[in-house]
């Protein structure tokens, strides 16, 4: 076993008197696909917000590749090599799909304050943008206004933008929400492909996807991790069945 790429120790987050995350200890191993499941309101999205820098933890440690990132700005965490997607689609709605991906690609090529060169002339950016659009099957939609595309297409766009910085750890927050069966299947395969050579942490409600895709699963209930293990272990875990899975959801 290699060192964990992401390690949470005694992580807590409260909003006023309300404790949302109540002492989470969790380790994500380098190269694995790690799913985070749990009932609604368990704190899955809050945990993603803490790791990605949207929220600062109340206490506890978040270590990414051994370095503390808790309370850092989102852009600093992204620059370290951790990228996330959002549960509620978070794109540039009135720009074209191409432009959405290109904005995401530019940063990885060190372009931010650049006003002395033309973006259309940059071949690296063009090629990388095209490659990502092909990857998520949106090449035909490159010219469409992103906010007017079908919901599932916007979800695919989310993934392309998350991949653009070539991150070592990807957090995907319900990437399949609102997708049809076919689209879920394709996206599931896509996630498998893109996670080669990277580490993936995913929140997903589709249990078929979770159990077939992930190497390990953590179960978050009421702000605490009650179990971590392989899909088989989680399926057999009595506490998990009681707290969350329910018989009909068990594949």
């Amino acid at each position: 076993m290699s060192d964990p790429i992401l390690a949470l120790h005694g992580l807590r987050k409260s909003f006023g008197p309300t404790d949302i995350i109540r002492g989470v200890d969790l380790q994500v191993r380098t190269g694995e696909r790690h799913a985070l499941i749990g009932p609604n309101g368990a704190g899955k999205s809050t945990l993603f917000h803490l790791v990605s820098g949207q929220l600062a933890p109340s206490s506890g440690a978040i270590r990414f590749e051994g370095r503390e990132i808790g309370g850092r700005t989102p852009q600093a965490i992204n620059r370290r090599g951790l990228a996330r997607s959002f549960q509620i689609t978070n794109i540039f709605p009135r720009l074209s799909t191409y432009e959405n991906v290109r904005l995401a690609v530019m940063r990885a090529h060190g372009l931010q304050y650049a006003f002395w060169k033309f973006i259309d002339r940059d071949r690296r950016i063009r090629e990388e943008t095209g490659r990502l659009l092909d990857l998520v099957r949106l090449a035909a939609k490159a010219g469409s206004v992103a906010g007017e595309m079908a919901y599932s297409e916007q979800r695919s766009l989310e993934i392309a933008m998350t991949l653009a910085s070539d991150p070592r750890l990807i957090l995907l927050d319900e990437p399949m929400a609102g997708m049809s069966h076919d689209e879920t299947e394709y996206t599931s395969q896509l996630i498998r492909e893109i996670s080669a050579g990277r580490t993936l942490m995913i929140v997903e409600h589709d249990m078929d996807v979770v159990f077939s895709l992930s190497d390990r699963i953590s179960v978050l209930v009421y702000g605490q991790v009650i179990a971590t293990g392989t899909p088989a272990e989680i399926r057999a875990h009595a506490g998990v069945r009681e707290a969350y899975l329910g018989d009909e959801a068990t594949p």
Binding site: S52, G53, Q54, T73, P74, Q75, N78, R79, A83, R84, F86, N90, I91, F92, P93, R94, L95, E99, R102, L103, A104, M106, R107, A108, L111, Q112, Y113, A114, F115, W116, K117, F118, I119, D120, M161, A164, S165, S180
Partner: protein, 426 residues
């Protein structure tokens, strides 16, 4: 692309030919129009492209103006720079002050951002009269355009060409800016600055830079005004100038690159041409703004886009009556509005009240308007605007009918799409 370029070159050539076509007075108005156009375009970089609604852009225009006036008076009146390069001093002033103000203002977004820009502008506006050394007090600071490079800049024509050269250069730079990585990110700021953070961008840094660049071009516009007027006064910090930037930009249309410039040039021209004819110019400006916002939220350039779409879909023969009717409708409604406002303005004026008191008890004296005298009590007088508005309403109704007929005549655009969709999902 090629067509756009040809149009731009033709437009620039026309502007360059203006001194041969216009009187001195109109040429002066043209200078003011060019400056207002640059100011509005600089403002739109922040407002339309970056989505940051600043209510205090006069501050950066004014700082640019005073930076220029001091640069011109420096070195015992010889000037820090050759006269043609003076707007650079204004640009630098705007850039520096914009970077400082922008750093504070862009800490927040939306309403709070607008309030901070308002506060900063108000701060400068109320401070300026007290700092006589810098802003010259009531009298302001005057200066002289020094002869440089064989030009004496004594004639309006030479000042016009200098202004035109700077405005065209600045507009070209502003346009090229939209093609750069920073220019694309500016749109990202407007669309979703939250997402930009998670893509690894420093949103505060980007916002400050965009703010500073917008302030820089505003300052350059201020500098050009000083070059034209040979003076600067703290009146340039007046909130009405900030308001004019917002109104002109939206009247022109924020979504088209040249929209704000068009709106500003148009409104400045009207201000010049009409302010001699009426005392209610600001009221007309306000009415125009409200009408544009209510019926043409994309501005006057949005109207061009709408007409363009209609022309793509329908034969010119079918559209011609529509355009004629719409134009007639606008003229009639405009005439009715002008008549009503001018009549009321005269009835409420002090002179008229004095006349009424002089002839107390008798009938209301007649009002002279448009070379005729009108009896305020006569139905015929009020019948004129009523008739105009009635005719306009009739034409409006007819236009709607034609538009509906055109919409019914074309194959419903949403028709084939759902069919395709159901095929896919089947």
């Amino acid at each position: 692309m090629r067509k756009t370029l040809i149009t731009c070159v033709a437009g620039a050539a026309l502007l360059a030919a203006l001194p041969f076509l216009l009187s001195q007075g109109l040429l002066n108005a043209a200078i003011q129009m060019l400056i207002a156009a640059l100011f509005a375009s600089a403002y739109n970089l922040l407002c339309g492209q970056a989505g940051m609604l600043s209510f205090g852009h006069a501050a950066y225009f004014g700082v640019g103006a005073f930076a220029t006036v001091h640069a011109m008076n420096a070195v015992g009146g010889a000037g820090l720079l050759p006269t043609p390069l003076m707007p650079l001093a204004g640009a630098l002033g705007g850039l520096v002050f914009g970077a400082i103000a922008g750093w504070f203002a862009t800490q927040r977004s939306g309403t709070y951002f607008a309030m901070i820009t308002l506060a900063i502008a108000e701060l400068v506006h109320s401070l300026a009269p007290h700092l006589k050394g810098v802003f010259g007090g009531e009298a302001g600071i005057s200066t002289m355009r020094m002869p440089t490079w064989g030009y004496d800049f004594g004639s309006t024509t030479q000042v016009y060409y200098l202004t035109l050269a700077w405005v065209l250069t600045a507009m070209a730079l502003l346009y090229l800016y939209t093609r750069t990585p920073l220019g694309r990110l500016t749109l990202g700021l407007r669309e979703n600055s939250h997402r930009l953070k998670f893509l690894g961008y420093n949103v505060h840094g980007l916002s400050t830079l965009v703010f500073a660049i917008s302030a820089m071009f505003s300052g350059m516009a201020g500098g050009l005004q000083v070059l034209s007027n040979e003076s600067a006064n703290y009146v340039v910090f007046d909130p009405s100038l900030s308001a004019a930037a917002v109104l002109n930009t939206y009247i022109g249309g924020v979504q088209v690159f040249l929209g704000p410039a068009f709106g500003a040039a148009l409104m400045t021209f009207f201000g010049y041409a009409i302010s001699d004819l009426t005392r209610s110019w600001l009221l007309y400006q306000g009415i125009l703004f409200v009408l544009v916002m209510m019926f043409l939220p994309t501005g006057l350039t949005g109207l061009i886009a709408i007409t363009g779409r209609l022309r793509e879909r329908h034969a010119p023969a079918r559209l011609m009556p529509l355009f004629v009717l719409a134009a007639a409708c606008a003229v009639l409604a405009g005439a009715g509005t002008v008549f009503t406002i001018e009549l009321l303005q005269r009835l409420f004026s002090q002179e008229y009240r004095a006349l009424m008191q002089a002839g107390a008890g008798g009938p209301w004296p007649a009002v002279a308007l448009f070379d005729r005298s009108w009896q305020p009590g006569s139905p015929a007088t009020w019948g004129v605007p009523l008739l105009l508005f009635g005719a306009a309403a009739l034409l409006y109704w007819r236009c709607r009918q034609i538009l509906n007929a055109l919409a019914d005549g074309e194959p419903a655009p949403s028709g084939p799409a759902p069919a395709q969709h159901s095929e896919e999902s089947a």
